[in-house]
Amino acid sequence: MIVPIHLTNRFIFIIHVFFPISNAESNKMIRAVLVMNTQGKPRLAKFYEFRPVEKQQEIIRNVFAVLCSRPEHVSNFVDAESFFGPDARLVYKHFATLYFVFIFDGSENELAMLDLIQVFVETLDKCFRNVCELDVVFNYSKMHTILDEIIFGGQVLETSSTEVIKAVEEISKLEAASSSINLVSKSVSSWRSR
């Protein structure tokens, strides 16, 4: 019997080429929008690429862990590659008890994303008059309506908050008109009995 014998650990010569992370393949888009409170509870989660529920939770947890560990007075940008795939960046903004987080890739400009968060929050603020966490929680579908007017399929659709508000108001009006049984809806503010 002949047995191949490797008496030496000769190695195969392969040039080690470091490929730069290629972003040619990745979709140029905003990948996710998250709103969570300072305890890490998600208040709004929208993923523009499909992710299974467990994966979504994992991402939310990871994002929260990163945000918690950020010291104060540092930049609003975080590298999100480790939990969101290559070239992913994360921009967050902290308002009162809420974190607004946009996850996107190299096609977007970080500072501009920061301002897009601002647009989103300004719009919410105008829609809800001094938006607070409770508004966000209780108006889950309206939040989505607003967000859908700003970001559509992962692309920035509209950046003027007045335009967004106009669209959202029109939707509300038409919806109210078309629902035949228009019960007096219990308003959150009255429930909160301010």
Partner: protein
């Protein structure tokens, strides 16, 4: 009022949210949610639920799923809801399905029909909701079902619908470009939409398209430029202002597209210079969004064909960013610096202290960005400092992902720029020690190869010095606890090959160490395999040298243990060790020649050296070898066995007769297949030895075979691998061809040096700076341009002057591009540009196609607009002129083809044009005709320019001219 408006919820839902909000632990929250799921499951399947209730259930389901619980039981109800005629229900249904389902979910098939119906709806909100679902849920198989409807919606009367239809088409393009390739012209049309929102949305797909291939969109450069101009001049509706900036997001997107279109294209870039300059000038650095635009402008400037004025402006902006207190701006500044440094390497000099500050910032993001910048700046003169810093940081972090990344960066830089072999090995050791298991195994192999081959064409003494220094360092490191497996493998290999080579260490000392290692990492089989092979090698070297081998007892026990190992590989190696030790010196020398890991080994695939032996065996009456395809009997045998198996499976009786076995056909001995002879003939001891040798050679042969891939190391001293970062137009070879250039170069070099030093000194006086930092800055930045300072900078850097040969080159290289851009003259083309195939050639032939024809596609869109093309062209003519005057003045070249237009004239004309422009038509409608007219005017000019350019020779920005430096010597 705020939270009402049809969005009200029931008490139950509010209670749910409240109780979840008050939950103290995750477990408590889970309990609440699970109870909620039970309730929903029960309720949702009740008959005749009022629509409002149903809608709320679905929202509650969404909420439950957001909290991470499975709500799949409700998906079908969400789908059902999309069929509802009631608008709020339908919208909620669509919202739910887009959040719940993926585009390959089974339920999609139930929705496609509804989507088709809704896309035709009269109510635009229904259409919008359906389009939203289209983006998310339609996959490449279902695209044809909705595509015609979506295309129809592109000309819907509501801009909200048009906007979303563009996006939907874009999503189709992303998912399956082939399905909509014939519809791409629609994007061009929508660029001229009356509504700025639609135009803005169209920029998204255009950006993607240009990114994929800019060539077909070069004709749009002028349109984009004019749109950007108009946006920057505040011509969009007030509602697009954001913090007093006119439509900043549109500006950013346009700058991105221009950056792509202008990259490596001088002609296209020239159209952009004026408008980019305007944008930078108008940029408001006090607001966040203003800075975003400024940053995007820098990106654009660094990407298009370089223009000295713009580079200067960009450098100013960067300085502002870096001086700011905001971490965000610092981050952007560092990023921008990294982009600009390719074009003007000197720019980093002014910011050295700011960069050092960022490196020491507590903000991880900023730190990483700074490392990115340093990576781009690395030269052989500062590689030590940078890599040391990187390794320090690598040790300090726990994030495996980034650790891997930065480790690979360190290795890359070290391989490229290492000033000395010793330093390289030390660096690699550190990397392996701290991130060994994260490093690609190939890096380890490279290191081994390097130690085996040495670098460049050094003499033998340096070789052996290198090796013994490696052995020494490994013997030191070996004692450390918990070394990564990859590193141990390297150590074992090096100790095995070179442990006893210089005679400093006795074989028993090295073998003892190897045995200790095998014992300490006894659950790592690879390490054990490396160790035992290293032992084999050391013993065989001993035998070959004629010394007596006495195995240590621990070694003996290790071999015994491995002989009984479960791993056949380990067993194999142990047996090999045993048999090698039993051989005489001559045989051992033949099997394992000393220091032969780099030898080329010839492989005798025919094993002709066995012919004699075979001949003898046949003479003695052995069966000749029959090659496999000639072994008919054997084939039948295998057939039988398979038949038998079949039959036994059938449990049936066989009634037909057995086939008569055919007699074997005798054949001549073919040496080709001799290897299997050994199956038939008894193997004698000596044959075994010879064979083993040659079989090993086969194993090694694969190395030499692939060594054709090896880097070419000849002539490159103290450096290996090709440098990644390089300054453009840095051609050291051009000096010889262009003596005039050489002289000016020296001048510039000295002036720059003195200038930089001055500025440095003055800053030093201004504020007291930590001397440590200064030292660091000096070692980081001082490398190339301040040779006089290097001597005092740090001992490390002076040590780096081992690579003095290439430093003068470097310093020249660093200055040349700055000079060329500074004087704004086209110099002699560096020779390597001819080779630079990666870059689009700048001397593009002037457009021969009739520009009018080209623009017809564009104009189709503007039919809906009220302005006729001719009017547009006339009214826009002044704009074109301004564009041209702008470019001429900025270039100061005085090209003959330009009509001199004074500033006054220009203003007058542009006022005229704005008066002439029909009110109510927005800027976008003008864009198309403008592009047409400019194109027409351009053809002549570009011809002239082209000729001129050819005369003078061109210096296109070459990304990586150093690539060729190695090749050209």
């Amino acid at each position: 009022m705020g939270s009402q408006g049809g969005f009200g919820q029931s008490k139950e839902f509010l209670d749910l949210i409240k109780s979840i909000g008050e939950a103290r632990s995750k477990a408590e929250e889970d309990r609440i949610v699970i109870r909620e799921i039970e309730t929903l499951k029960r309720r949702i399947s009740e008959p005749d639920i009022p629509k409002r209730k149903m809608k709320e259930y679905i929202i509650r389901l969404l909420y439950v799923e957001m909290l991470g619980h499975d709500a799949s039981f409700g998906y079908i109800h969400a789908v059902k809801m999309t069929h509802d005629d009631n608008l709020p229900s339908k919208r909620t249904g669509y919202l739910a399905v887009t959040l719940f389902l993926n585009d390959d979910h089974d339920l999609i098939i139930l929705i496609v029909n509804t989507i088709q119906k809704d896309l035709k709806s009269d109510n635009y909100l229904v259409v919008c909701a359906a389009l939203n679902a289209v983006c998310r849920l339609i996959n490449d198989e279902t695209i044809p079902a909705v595509l015609p409807l979506v295309v129809d919606l592109l000309s819907h009367s509501k801009e909200a619908v048009r906007k979303k239809a563009v996006m939907a088409l874009h999503s189709f393009h992303r998912k399956s470009p082939s399905s909509v390739s014939h519809l791409i012209s629609n994007f061009r049309k929508r660029l001229c939409d009356n509504d700025p929102g639609v135009m803005g949305a169209t920029l998204c797909p255009l950006f993607d398209l240009v990114n994929a291939d800019p060539t077909p969109y070069k004709d749009l450069v002028v349109s984009f430029v004019s749109i950007l101009k108009q946006v920057a001049e505040h011509r969009l509706p007030k509602s697009y202002d954001y913090h007093q900036m006119p439509a900043p997001f549109v500006q950013i997107k346009l700058l991105k597209i221009l950056a792509l279109l202008g990259s490596g294209d001088k002609l296209a870039s020239e159209h952009m210079y004026t408008v980019i300059g305007d944008v930078i000038r108008k940029g408001d650095s006090s607001s966040n969004i203003g800075n975003a635009i400024l940053y995007e402008s820098i990106r654009c400037v660094s990407s298009i064909y370089p223009n000295a004025k713009l580079l200067e402006a960009a450098a100013d902006v960067i300085a502002k960013f870096l001086k700011s207190d905001s971490h965000n701006l610092k981050y952007m500044g560092i990023d921008a610096l990294g982009r600009l440094i390719k074009l003007s390497p000197l720019i980093a000099e002014q910011h050295q202290l700011a960069v050092i500050d960022c490196l020491e910032d507590p903000d991880d993001t900023l730190k990483r960005k700074t490392f990115e910048l340093l990576y781009k700046m690395t030269k052989s003169s500062n590689v030590e400092v940078i890599v040391d810093r990187m390794i320090d940081y690598m040790i300090s972090i726990s994030d495996d992902h980034y650790k891997t990344y930065i480790a690979s960066r360190c290795v890359e830089l070290a391989e490229q720029f290492a000033p000395s072999n010793h330093w390289f090995i030390q660096t690699m050791n550190k990397v392996f020690e701290h991130a060994g298991d994260l490093v690609n195994i190939k890096v380890a192999h490279n290191l081994m190869r390097l130690i085996a081959e040495g670098f460049g064409e050094d003499d033998d003494t340096t070789y052996s010095q290198l090796r013994s220094s490696a052995v020494e360092s490994y013997l030191r490191i070996i004692g450390e606890p918990k070394l990564p497996s990859v590193f141990l493998q390297v150590i074992c290999w090096v100790l095995g090959e070179y442990g006893t080579a210089d005679g400093k260490h006795s074989a028993s000392y090295i073998t003892g160490k190897l045995c200790d290692m095998a014992e300490a990492y006894s659950n790592d089989e690879t390490v054990k395999a490396y160790a035992i092979t290293a032992l084999t090698k050391i013993y065989s070297f001993e035998i070959a040298a004629g010394r007596k081998v006495d195995m240590l007892s621990e070694c003996q026990s290790l071999v015994e243990e491995l002989l009984a190992s479960h791993s056949t590989d380990l067993q194999q190696r142990a047996y090999e060790l045993q048999s090698v030790i039993g051989l005489d010196a001559r045989a051992v020398e033949a099997i394992l020649p000393h220091d032969a890991s780099c030898e080329d080994i010839e492989v005798d695939k025919n094993i002709s050296f066995l012919n004699d032996y075979v001949q003898k065996a046949i003479e003695r009456g052995a069966m000749p070898y029959i090659s496999e395809n000639e072994r008919s009997g054997m084939v039948n045998m295998s057939n039988f066995s398979s038949q038998d198996q079949q039959e036994s499976g059938q449990h049936g009786l066989r009634f037909e007769a057995y086939e008569v076995p055919k007699p074997p056909v005798p054949s001549k001995v073919t040496p080709v297949s001799l290897s299997s002879v050994t199956d038939l003939v008894p193997v004698s001891e000596s044959l075994y030895a010879r064979e083993t040798h040659h079989i090993t050679s086969v194993g090694v042969a694969s190395d030499t075979g692939s060594s054709g891939l090896k880097l070419k190391l000849d002539g490159v001293q103290k450096k290996w691998g090709k440098p990644t970062y390089s300054s453009p137009a840095s051609s050291s070879n051009s000096t010889s061809q262009n003596p005039v250039n050489g002289v000016t170069k020296v001048d510039v070099a000295t002036t720059v040096n003195s200038k930089v030093r001055d500025s440095y000194d003055s800053r030093k006086q201004q504020n007291e700076i930590d001397p440590e930092k200064q030292k660091l800055a000096a070692s980081l930045f001082g490398g190339s341009t301040k040779p006089e300072r290097r001597t005092s900078a740090s001992s490390k850097v002076s040590k780096a002057s081992a690579g003095a040969a290439d430093r003068p080159q470097d310093s020249k290289a660093a200055i040349v591009p700055n000079k060329t851009s500074g004087e704004k003259t086209n110099q002699q083309p560096p020779p390597q540009d001819l080779l630079d195939l990666g870059e689009p050639t700048v001397t593009v032939a002037p457009p021969t196609v009739d520009p009018f024809q080209q623009l017809e596609g564009l104009l189709d869109a503007s039919i809906s607009s009220t302005v006729s093309p001719s009017v547009g062209a006339v009214s826009n003519a002044p704009d074109i002129m301004s564009l041209y005057t702008g470019s001429t003045s900025s270039e100061q070249r005085g090209a003959g083809g330009y009509i001199p237009v004074t500033g006054d004239n220009l203003n007058l004309l542009s006022e005229l044009s704005s008066a002439a422009a029909v009110r109510g038509t927005t800027g976008e409608t003008n864009a198309a005709p403008l592009s047409l007219s400019v194109k027409g005017a351009n053809a002549k000019d570009s011809l002239e320019k082209d000729a001129k350019v050819r005369q003078m020779g061109v210096t296109p920005t070459s990304q990586n001219p150093n690539l060729f430096r190695d090749l050209l010597g």
